[in-house]
Amino acid sequence: MTACASAGARFGGGEGGTALLDAPADYPVPPEARTGPLWAALREVMDPEIPISLVDLGLIYDIRQDGGRVEVDLTFTATACPCMAFIHFDIQDRLQQEPGVDYVEVSEVWTPAWTKARITPEGRETLRTFGVSM
């Protein structure tokens, strides 16, 4: 299948892109604030194709909790990622195992666009071991 994580083409690529595209790694939740049981839970959810967690791949933009209700902002590496349905289901299944979580809503967000810059240092190391050049 299309290896989503390696998809890199973008509009205006030849002109250097935008600042948001080039340095988005800590938007909107910086890495040091990705703490707590819900982030930890999603660190256990792996990308369906490569052995890297959704958090390390940089697909989770935000997690908000209001009582038993959790909202996750999720992006994908490519708009035609064949795994979109899997990832939705995997997030819901995992978060629903957390105490006090009754309902999980996953919102797909495409802004800002995912780029390789979103992959965490741990994730980069995993990908190198797996044979994906970064």
């Binding site: 035609a80 064949p82 939705h88």
Partner: protein, 314 residues
């Protein structure tokens, strides 16, 4: 002219020799390899229109993307196998566009329409598992270097198809009601179809060139057991009945129906009550091809007319 005699080559490949160049192949080796690759290529190719029929029932755009990505993979895998056949002197375009429907070599199981999402995901769970079982064995054991290298990517992608199948089988079985019933009905006709796919039992199997030339490593019965070892426990774990179980006494999976037996193509139902039939009857049924054979090949060849126009214009 081949560098080795047939006997020398058979001995060499069993001692770990990997065939890379044309002059290392004997005529016997080449014909056995062509048969193997044709079955592989045609199976991948015809799975595309078969899956397409059911992918149209995807319950959301995201799941439609998954299903069509699987179809794209299958076409790409077919392309790899036809490309390898070109190295052996065959013409890819002729193979795809120039043959009659009944000349394709894919298994009878892919001559049947898949009519809903449940049938698609059970096909992913059962047939793609059969594909992984067969190709996994080829990958581990083949003496043909170019094929071994090509299969690395194929295997990674087939694993995704399998995961797609198993995840949806679990989900629909858990949902209960009509969703569960649809999975059960699909398993009822597709489980025996996959069991039959592995072919003649070992005690009836005539001499196999593919084993002699080390184009594969496992026998039909070993492959059938490997397939059941994954498939039967999966179905048991999600409460879907299949007519097979592990026998402690025999230390293998055993079938709970007469094998082989007759199949009613219109009703999509195996006629267990009518008892065991001979394998020559099975070969006759395979040779007659199944109800969707013509339609699937037509879907693949639809571009032929346009292709001819382009060639004439050039």
């Amino acid at each position: 002219m081949a560098r080795y005699t047939d006997e020398e080559l058979k001995e060499k490949v069993h001692n770990g020799f990997i065939v890379e160049y044309a002059d290392e192949r004997t005529e016997g080796y080449k014909s056995a390899l062509i048969v193997q690759l044709l079955v592989q290529a045609d199976t991948e190719l015809i799975s595309a229109p078969a899956y397409f029929g059911a992918a149209k029932d995807a319950p959301s755009t995201n799941t439609m993307v998954s299903a069509t990505a699987i179809i794209q993979d299958e076409l790409a895998h077919a392309n790899i196998a036809y490309r390898l056949l070109e190295d052996l002197g065959l013409d890819k375009e002729q193979l795809v566009y120039g043959r009659q429907a009944h000349e394709f070599k894919h298994p009878y199981g892919f001559d049947h329409p898949l009519e809903n999402w449940a049938e698609l995901v059970v096909a992913n769970g059962f047939y793609d598992r059969a594909g992984i079982t067969l190709l996994g064995d080829v990958f581990k054991n083949t003496s043909y270097g170019p094929l071994k290298r090509a299969l690395v990517k194929v295997d990674q992608e087939e694993t995704f198809h399998l995961r797609h199948g198993e995840m949806w089988m679990k989900r629909l079985a858990k949902a209960g009601g009509e969703a569960r019933e649809q999975i059960q009905r699909a398993a009822d006709w597709m489980f025996p179809m996959a069991v039959e796919w592995f072919g003649l039992p070992d005690d009836m199997k005539r001499h196999s060139g593919q084993l002699d030339y080390k184009l594969k490593g496992m026998t039909n019965d070993e492959l059938r057991q490997t397939w059941m070892k994954s498939t039967v426990p999966l179905c048991e774990s999600i409460g879907i009945d299949v007519p097979a179980h592990w026998s402690e006494e025999e230390q293998k999976f055993v079938l709970e129906y007469p094998f082989p037996c007759e199949y009613d193509e219109d009703e999509k139902r195996w006629l267990f009550d009518e008892g065991e039939i001979s394998w020559s009857k099975v070969f006759e049924r395979w040779k007659g091809r199944g109800p969707a054979n013509k339609k699937f090949v037509e879907m693949i060849q639809e571009g032929r007319g346009f292709r001819q126009q382009l060639e004439m214009a050039a």
